[in-house]
Amino acid sequence: MVASIGEISAPAGRRRAARQNGGALGLALVAPAFGLMILLILLPACRSLLGTIFPDGAALPSLKSYQTFFADTRSVSNLLFTIQVTVVTLAILLTIGLTLALYLRFSQSRFVGAIQIIALFPLFVPGIVISFALIRFIGPTGLVATTLHVLGISGYQTPYLHPSGAIIGLVWENIPLTIMLLTAGLAQISNSSIEAARDVGAGWFRILSQIILPQLTRSIVVAASLNFLGIFGSFTVPYILGPAAPQMMSIFMQNTFSERHDSGVAETQAAVTFLVCLLVGVIYTACVFRDTARNGKAG
């Protein structure tokens, strides 16, 4: 916004020069970080990817390692399981996150501060701690089971060591990030637009669906994609709370790499994981760029 005020007052030529200077300085500032990223992340990733296509110095590219991956039922079921856990966790996360974020944004209650602190609390607890704490909480003889027993409710099926155990742990772990992203998005929605809608007689559902959600799309996409990447690669929580089989890809890769010492197969697993994440990364980047471009034009 400050820039747009400057643009209005500055003559066109000076403006362009300033932008070019600023551009060069900006590039110089990001160059070391960008270089490091290429050196430490992109190059090794490309090498690994090429390694899966050209196995052991073969001259011709071959997709054999991928064929093996997709022909192996264990690999495929692990991949599908990872996608399934990620999608379900994401749906629960967004539902809880959106509800809480809307409450935090619009409620006048004096509990808002307390709820915000509780919602951000998981940020400060390491995953391994929460995993063991959750065993005690949702485990077969944990607090939930004993409380239900006291209340006379029987037939409690513990989620511990089931996929639902991993999902509960992952939701708990990722709530803070979701809430922070969504509250930041909600903060940009002006009260006046909502009041204007209310003045012309819009109900809460109409305000939500036609005023709030359209302006929040970007935050939701960002929250969804960042969480997707985090959950897809999560290790500790599903490792301790989830079932022995199927496994999340991260655990599967670790097993293949450090137990079976089969680095070629682990590389293929990593490449498949990477490609799934790349897809989400593209959606995220497209969304951020589209918005930046639109804002740029508007400014």
């Binding site: 944990g142 060591l161 089931h162 301790i240 079932p243 022995a244 496994q247 137990e259 079976r260």
Partner: protein
């Protein structure tokens, strides 16, 4: 003025802290030979060495003292072991006199390098008391052991039902659905050795078939196949129809909470759990009598270039005396490496259910990698359950 005072206080406290050790120790430090001991064991082991063993040893040997160095956070004894090999090549003092636990085979080439002292009963007389099967290479000093066994809740399992053989165990599991569990074999030895026991069972209980240097993928497949059938067969009768926990501790946790009434567990972890109250006092231990579960020894070793080698021999000999072996058993559940017949009859009687004359083993490396992979491919294959 303030700087004056703080400087004075600083000088006084510095002087006090320098002289403090002389007051505390009583004996002048220069009169004692200090044995540098490297340990990377778990906290229970390192605490015991620092707080229990060191005073015991120093009381028995007033001219010697122990400097227990915990290397857990600094790359463990493997790194120190590499340094010892390097010191051997440079013919210098490795600054290490004793490894609490280091098998030279942990660092490739270390055993052959001559950097570690081969020991015998001349150097360490009490080696004569040690279980003869436990010494695999002459540089190893087996000083404690631990073995996987069955832990059960005696409030639920009646004494006559406690399994004594593998067949008993399978029958008990099938007769008590949901009451037994073992952990994933790659996440904890207590689970791995349950799987290993099944493998031994289908190979005429001949554990000598599996050696560190005779791995063959096809042979492994053939010898493991029967075990997968057994383990897959009992899966529906396990806790939560086969919800395998991710390690020794989560398994003990399920047991302690009463979710299951029998598990496979490490001897030291369960004995310590019982004595500290982490496991219910109705917890009892048992060992299979037809062929026990696998176990292993902790090996001490002494660098051949150590500056205080004679003192290190004395320490090794002290570790193998019956009182020290009994103390370890009482304090942190470590099984003795010397024969049980050397311990007090009361103690031997107390542990008679878990004592076994045999300690089968299963090689690490490729064999156990094949075991883990086979287990995931053949046993824990269930599709997603809620």
């Amino acid at each position: 003025m303030t700087t004056e005072i703080s400087r004075r206080i600083f000088l006084q406290s510095a002087a006090a802290s320098v002289t403090l050790p002389f007051f505390v120790s009583g004996v002048h430090a220069a009169d004692r030979t200090v044995i540098d001991v490297m340990t990377d064991g778990d906290t229970n082991v390192t605490d015991w060495w620092t707080n229990t063993l060191a005073p015991m040893f120093e009381k028995a040997n007033p001219d010697l003292s122990l400097n227990v160095v915990i290397t857990r956070a600094n790359g463990s004894n493997d790194v120190v072991g590499q340094r010892v090999v390097a010191a051997m090549q440079a013919k210098t003092d490795p600054k290490v006199d004793y490894f609490e636990e280091f098998d030279p085979r942990r660092v490739p080439g270390a055993a052959e390098s001559g950097a570690f002292e081969p020991v015998d009963t001349k150097k360490i007389p009490n080696l004569a008391l040690v279980n003869p099967g436990s010494i695999e290479i002459p540089q190893d000093i087996p000083y404690r052991a631990s073995q996987v066994l069955l832990a059960y809740n005696s409030a639920v399992v009646s004494p006559q039902d406690v399994p004594k053989t593998w067949a008993d165990l399978i029958a008990w599991i099938k007769g008590h659905p949901g009451q037994f569990i073992y952990c994933r074999p790659d996440k904890g030895g207590s689970g791995a050795y349950m799987v290993t026991r099944a493998i031994h069972e289908v190979n005429n209980r001949d554990f000598s078939l599996f050696k560190a240097d005779n791995f063959d993928a096809d042979v492994a497949k053939k010898r493991f196949a029967g075990a997968w059938d057994i383990l897959k067969d009992i899966e529906p009768y396990l806790y939560d129809k086969g919800s395998y926990p991710a390690g020794n501790n989560p398994t003990l946790q399920l047991f302690a909470g009463g979710a299951v009434s029998m598990i496979t567990a490490w001897s030291d972890q369960s004995l310590q759990g019982i004595s500290q109250g982490a496991l219910p006092d109705t917890t009892k231990l048992a060992q299979l009598q037809d062929l026990p579960f696998c176990g292993g020894y902790a090996f001490s070793s002494i660098p051949s270039q150590a500056a205080h080698k004679d003192a290190a021999f004395k320490l090794a000999n002290f570790m193998l005396t019956p009182p020290v072996q009994e103390q370890m058993l009482k304090d942190f559940g470590a099984f003795p490496s010397i024969e049980w017949s050397n311990l007090s009859p009361d103690l031997a009687a107390k542990y008679k259910d878990v004592v076994s004359t045999k300690m089968p083993s299963f090689p690490g490396g490729q064999w156990s990698a094949a075991l883990n992979d086979g287990w995931y491919s053949n046993v824990a294959t269930h599709t997603v359950r809620g």
